[in-house]
């Protein structure tokens, strides 16, 4: 089949991913207008946007293993959009925290960030994701060259911080954050195994 066919297929898939990724936001808007965000709507919005930022982080990190293990190269084409959606939902998360929850009370916010470890790691994760969003364009990729790859390794640190943020926020039942933690570490492990797969294969043959 021709490259042309593949390119148009990839564009179609991108459009579908783009629209699907807006569903969580549309849901929040719909629930908001129907007074259906529950007893604590601000907490609901904070939780929802935070969770979706984490989901998109996991989706972003799963593109490389998908490509590696399936051999379908085009997976990597969706990675940037998913990463930007992570940044989008993380931004909504921060905006709801700064605006709805704390009404721009900067001294309260500063105290909250410094005093509470879970807020500190979450906020750090967000700050670290800003340069990644800024340098996500093709032009930036070209300009930064090899340094781009190095810079974007930050996503692993962001992943660790985001998972910790969720884990430390929870009072007692750690099931949900641990699910995300295990997905995150599986995605890292898959990369490691792939990288050393020849070594693993060889050791099997030798035996």
């Amino acid at each position: 089949m021709s490259d042309k066919f593949f390119n148009s297929l990839i564009i179609k898939i991108k459009v579908i991913i783009f629209l699907l990724s807006l569903i969580p936001l549309c849901r929040l808007i719909y629930l908001g207008f129907n007074d259906a965000l529950g007893a604590n709507p601000i907490e609901f919005i904070e939780r929802s946007t935070g969770t979706w930022a984490l989901v998109f982080l996991m989706l972003t990190l799963s593109m490389t293993p998908f490509r590696q293990w399936s051999g379908i190269k085009s997976f990597i084409q969706y990675r940037r959009m998913l990463g930007l959606y992570m940044f989008f939902y993380a931004s909504l998360h921060i905006i709801s925290y700064v605006w709805l929850d704390h009404w721009f009370d900067l001294s309260e916010i500063t105290k909250d960030i410094i005093k509470h470890p879970y807020v500190l790691v979450g906020f750090t994760a967000f700050l670290l994701s800003i340069p990644l969003a800024i340098t996500s364009t093709k032009a930036m990729m070209k300009r930064l060259g090899r340094r781009w790859k190095l810079l974007h390794k930050l996503i692993y640190l962001i992943g660790v911080l985001a998972v910790l943020h969720f884990l430390w926020l929870v009072k007692k039942d750690h099931t949900e954050p641990l699910v995300y933690a295990s997905i995150f570490f599986s995605l890292i492990a898959l990369r490691f195994v792939y990288k050393h797969r020849t070594h693993f294969k060889l050791s099997v043959i030798r035996r």
Partner: protein, 322 residues
């Protein structure tokens, strides 16, 4: 080769989920009305029951001088946003998972440093003292608050009836342990059963309420039916729900949350805007029911009850005794 055996039940005979739920409601309603008719269930309440919703009015109660005149948190929010881990760790779990919970019959056992160990049925607790409506602020340790019209009477009334001995320095409250009716207990998020405690003078303070209702109705299951503690100047978790045992002790009880996180939850747990929790800011709170664009409000010392309870802690280091 796989051979498909014809199912004995034809699909048209299987009730849809909706039909099934409807039938269950009908059966329950029928059961409830039978009980009402025979006077078993509602005889002592002296009120009317709504079979469809299970909500039961409490007829006679007086207004209390201890009530605040702040705007009430809507009934819907008070009964759908609950921390009650016996029914699950999500705030919306208790209202759903407590539907099959049976608050009657119910017996509370009184033990420890008392003249005589006693057992008392919930219907007799209703007769122990005249019921009052008390509108209290409730501040959760997580940084949100509500204004709730409780129905009940001062715990002091029960304690007077119990006649504790001179050895009674503390009161320990134990909640029901029953993982059939309380599915959340199948997960060991806390060391079940739930245990809470008060110092004797705190327990005797007139503000300390034994609540049996809210919004003029019998306590809903998700709010601690049939009987719970309400200590308005302390964080919400001090209010033990579904109490089955009250024990008077000489030593400080080890509460469920102290066991779960000794550096996060103290025995006293007084609302204090100057002592922060490792996770949550305590200087301000979100009043539930305010909607999206209402700012937080400042948290008051002892949740605004300093005048009535401040003297209980004079000379105490409240940072150490958090």
């Amino acid at each position: 080769m796989l051979i498909h055996k014809q199912s004995d039940i034809i699909p048209s005979e299987i009730a849809s989920k909706e039909t099934f739920e409807n039938r269950r409601t009908l059966i329950k309603a029928a059961g409830a009305s039978l009980l009402t008719a025979s006077g078993i269930c509602t005889g002592f309440i002296n009120g009317s029951a709504n079979a469809a919703t299970g909500r039961q009015k409490i007829n006679a109660y007086a207004k209390s001088k201890y009530s605040t005149d702040e705007k009430l948190t809507p009934y819907e929010d008070v009964t759908s946003y609950n921390n009650y881990y016996e029914f699950g760790t999500s705030k919306t779990d208790p209202s759903i998972e407590s539907r099959l919970f049976k608050p009657t019959p119910w017996t509370v056992s009184i033990e420890g440093a008392v003249k005589k160990n006693k057992q008392i049925g919930i219907e007799d607790i209703f007769k122990l003292a005249p019921l009052e409506e008390r509108i209290y602020r409730m501040r959760c340790v997580e940084g949100w608050s509500m204004v709730i019209p409780w129905v009940g009477f001062s715990l002091a009334k029960l304690i007077q009836w119990v006649e504790p001995t001179a050895n009674a320095k503390y009161v320990e409250f134990t909640s029901l342990s029953d993982d059939l009716m309380m599915p959340g207990q199948r997960m060991r998020v806390l060391d079940w059963p739930y245990v809470e405690g008060l110092r004797m003078d705190e327990a005797m303070n007139p503000l300390t309420l034994l609540a049996v209702g809210l919004y003029g109705e019998m306590l809903p299951n998700q709010n601690g039916a049939p009987m719970r503690l309400v200590v308005p100047w302390k964080y919400g978790f001090k209010g033990a729900k579904a109490i089955v045992r009250i024990r008077f002790t000489e030593t400080m009880p080890k509460t469920a949350w102290m066991k779960a996180g000794p550096n996060e939850y103290g025995f006293y747990a007084n609302v204090n805007p100057t002592v922060d929790h490792p996770r949550w800011t305590q200087s301000s709170e979100r009043r539930i029911g305010g909607g999206l664009f209402t700012p937080r409000i400042k948290t008051q010392m002892f949740n605004g009850y300093a005048e009535q309870v401040g003297q209980l802690y004079s000379g105490m280091d409240l940072i150490k005794n958090f």
